[in-house]
Amino acid sequence: MDVLLLDIVTTAAILFIVASGLMIILGVMKLINFAHPAFLTIGGYAAFVITQLGWNPWLAVPFAALVGFLLGLIVERVIVRPLYARPLDAILATWGLGIVIGQVITIAFGRQVQFVQTPISGAMEFLGQTYSTYRLVLVILAIVLAVALTGLLYFTRFGLNARAVTMNEDLARGLGIDSTKVRSVTFGLGAALASMAGALITPLISVDPNLGLPWLVNSFMLVLVSGVSIPGLMVAALILGGAQVIVSTYVSAILGGLTIVVLAAVILRIRPRGLTSG
């Protein structure tokens, strides 16, 4: 029972970390970034590079975030900006970008599966159970991330501008907020979060050019169900991630893989704006 509980909490934490970048971009820019898995992959390979260099594995996380941020700024300028008026096309263009990034990585690193050095290995005693230390650390990191994002959105100038753009872009522009800059930084931030998430999950999974792909649909569904808010995403990750763990444990792992998608489709049919909106 306790193991199940730990599985649920740690799975929810991982889902939260992976989906947060997608949510920031959707929230502020009203844009679904289908290149999200590609940025996860970039983060995975950033961690791989750090391992190859023999550096401290914890450095992988800031390094991945930096690479993601810079790349995000470029992508926003070149591909995303012309598509603000065509949100469905933006999905497709970012998906195409994902194909491009996947192929570039394949050409650069090869198609084979790589392994990354784990920052923390082994297990520890927790609630009377022996449990993977790294997964427990991810829970703490997820909480830190949620606090940091909330702080960024509610206690900084950028956050104020971003929230203004989120609510009413025209009005925000009229008040002198440079919404182009807000969008650009937001995309960079979202890409950085995705890359960071990629670096954080690589110790749990192997690194290959398609590493991000399986996470796309689940992240997307979680973000929509969350109603695009940080507490909403935590709740959605706990509920849907929890359901996934329970179904995987008691029914079958294959059906567990379907749980989030199916539940999300049903929830969104009943509450089209997700859990947290009135």
């Binding site: 497709l92 059906l255 998608v261």
Partner: protein
């Protein structure tokens, strides 16, 4: 709609339908394509023919994606699922049950039925009144993922992740397979060509352009989308069946999300909404991929990815329009655009005399959360009455109009239209009761011509042909008058987006009147019009009420205009009816002066 006797007077020239179709073009093109496909295997090596057969089946699937996405605007990630269902129907029946002509037919039929049933389920889930367009895409994204997992869960039966292969099949010569796949593609393309150029095809484009306007024209948008999804699913299943029977291999990838997105890449590159573009795009990219997969697999996929991004960003219509424009420039010749349909008068309809009050509103209220926008609205409208709704911004005028035109809108209260209670119905059913609503901002179908916009508005009364387009467009007298008096009659072949603002407003009004409504709801129909245009509309409105005995409900800010044309005025303020009386009573009242002079402050935000 009120039950009106369909009488025809001597003056009316009601014209019978004279459909015109593209059947000749299609036959010519089809025969040419079949000839090319007929001789092609003799000039190509076996390897090429082999990969072309696969590509032809996939091209048919891409064609269904173009129908859904390119024409109707349904961005689907899941068309691969139906292909997979057809393929697995073939593989499962041949592997586990038996092989032979009977089994083959059974497998094909089972595949089609299963695909159509799944498509109906997906459509029912995805398309409902008020659904966000993104939700449909979400469901089509979930579908292939669910199916792939089911295949994985199937163990030995479905072959799980390695799929099924080596089942018995028809080892016909490769030419026969090529011809079968080619003939199937040509037939489906020909039918799709006729379909999208028919009047029904224009309705699909209208749905893509403006789904809400469609619903308020009485078009059952969810039903049309579901039916299209079911048809596309059936065709996809046939293609998948052929693919499996030919290649003798099925794998979970055939149902998967990645194939679903690849289809979108092919369609976007070829040119969405062109049919031929997606077909050529699918064939070209799939064949080239097969060729290059040995030597430069990653670089080719990289190139396709880059090209896809560039096309989406810079050339959203894809490559096909570039080719056609080049062709037109290089090969000049007479290319007369299809003649717009000729206008004719629809048979005159009488307003039912048996009903006393066309519109009865009792205790209607509407709230958004705790915000009360309408409370206790009670009023009636008479036949032949032009009833104006006035009041400051945020008084709830537009909300009241919406409550009458959309059965889901009100929070409580009863509305009766020609003696029939208005249920919790989507706007398209409200139209059937006789309601026509004009929106505040001009709301027309930008890429359809004026004639096509009017045709779409006749959806309910003159059901559109599925395979042809009618050369006659029947309109009721009131709509005809607007078309003639505002000069729209000369621009029937002009796309609506090229019209001036005043003409767009007039076109939308004509579209609403083309519904032959008994109750017309007009939300500031003269906003942004010149004085001359406004007076013309005013004259038409008064004659509608006086001669045809329609009830018109008009939201208007211009009190002079209201005074000139109304027979009665209702003043709304802060969600309540403050005054209901004759023009003189209301316009001269203290209240009106107070509200409009701003001394009665009650500024609450307009809920819209």
């Amino acid at each position: 709609m009120a039950k009106g006797a369909q009488t025809s007077s001597a003056k009316v020239h009601f014209a019978a339908a004279k459909p015109r179709s593209d059947i000749r073009t299609v036959l010519k093109g089809g025969v040419l394509a079949l000839l090319v496909l007929g001789v092609a295997p003799f000039f190509l090596d076996i390897y090429t023919v082999n990969i072309l057969i696969r590509a032809l089946f996939l091209a048919t699937l891409a064609l269904t994606v173009d129908l859904l996405w390119g024409y109707t605007g349904i961005l689907t990630f899941g068309q691969s699922a139906f292909f997979g269902i057809g393929a697995y129907a073939c593989a499962l029946v041949f592997t586990h049950w038996g092989f032979g002509a009977g089994w083959a037919i059974l497998a094909l039929v089972l595949g089609i039925i299963a695909a159509m049933a799944v498509a109906a389920l997906v459509g029912w889930l995805a398309f409902y009144h008020g659904a966000a367009p993104l939700y449909g895409s979400i469901v089509t994204l979930a579908l292939p993922i669910v199916l792939t997992q089911i295949v994985f869960a199937g163990g030995r039966t479905t072959g799980s992740s390695s799929g099924l292969s080596g089942f018995p099949t028809y080892y016909w010569s490769i030419e026969i397979w090529f011809w079968l796949a080619g003939a199937f593609l040509v037939v489906v393309t020909g039918l799709a060509w006729l379909f999208v150029r028919s009047d029904m095809g224009r309705v699909l484009v209208a749905i893509k352009e403006n789904e809400i306007r469609c619903a308020y024209l009485g078009i059952p948008v969810p039903r049309i989308k579901i039916l299209l999804m079911v048809a596309a699913g059936g065709i996809g299943a046939i293609a998948g069946f052929g693919y499996a029977a030919f290649t003798n291999v099925v794998a979970p990838e055939l149902t998967g999300f990645l194939l679903g997105t690849e289809l979108l890449v092919w369609v976007a590159l070829g040119g969405r909404g062109t049919l031929i573009g997606p077909v050529l795009g699918a064939i070209f990219i799939d064949v080239t991929s097969s060729y290059l997969s040995g030597s430069f697999p990653f670089y080719w996929k990289l190139l396709v990815g880059i090209l896809f991004v560039v096309v989406i960003v810079a050339l959203p219509q894809g490559l096909m329009p570039v080719v056609t424009n080049l062709w037109r420039r290089l090969v000049p010749g007479k290319r007369s655009a299809a003649e717009p349909a000729k206008l004719a008068a629809a048979p005159k309809r009488e307003i039912a005399e048996s009903v006393d009050k066309p519109l009865i509103v009792r205790g209607v209220h509407r709230h958004f959360g705790s915000l009360q926008v309408l409370q206790g609205i009670d009023f009636e409208a008479e036949k032949g009455e032009l009833l104006s709704l006035v009041g400051p911004n945020g008084a709830g005028k537009t909300t009241l109009i919406r409550c009458i035109a959309d059965g889901y809108e009100r929070s409580g209260g009863d509305i009766t239209i020609y003696g029939k209670p208005l249920g919790r119905w989507a706007p398209d059913r409200c139209v059937a009761l006789g309601i026509g609503r004009k929106f505040q901002a001009a709301n027309v179908f930008a890429t359809l011509t004026v004639g096509e916009c009017l045709r779409v508005a006749r959806y309910r009364l003159d059901p559109p042909s599925t395979w042809a387009s009618d050369t006659i467009l029947n309109l009721p007298e009131a709509a005809l008058r607007i078309v003639e008096e505002t000069g729209l009659g000369e621009s029937l072949a002009t796309e609506a987006r090229h019209l001036a603002h005043g003409q767009k407003q007039a076109l939308e009004l004509a579209m609403v009147l083309a519904l032959e409504p008994s109750i017309v709801l007009l939300d500031e129909p003269t906003a942004g019009l010149t004085r001359v245009e406004r007076e013309r509309i005013g004259t038409i409105l008064t004659s509608l009420t006086e001669r045809e005995r329609l009830s018109v409900l008009l939201v208007e800010h211009d009190l002079d205009f209201v005074r000139k044309i109304s027979s009665r005025v209702i003043v709304l303020h802060q969600g309540r009816i403050m005054l209901d009386g004759s023009v003189d009573e209301v316009v001269g009242s203290e209240l009106i002066r107070n509200i409009y002079a701003g001394s009665a402050q009650g500024g609450r935000g307009d809920p819209e």
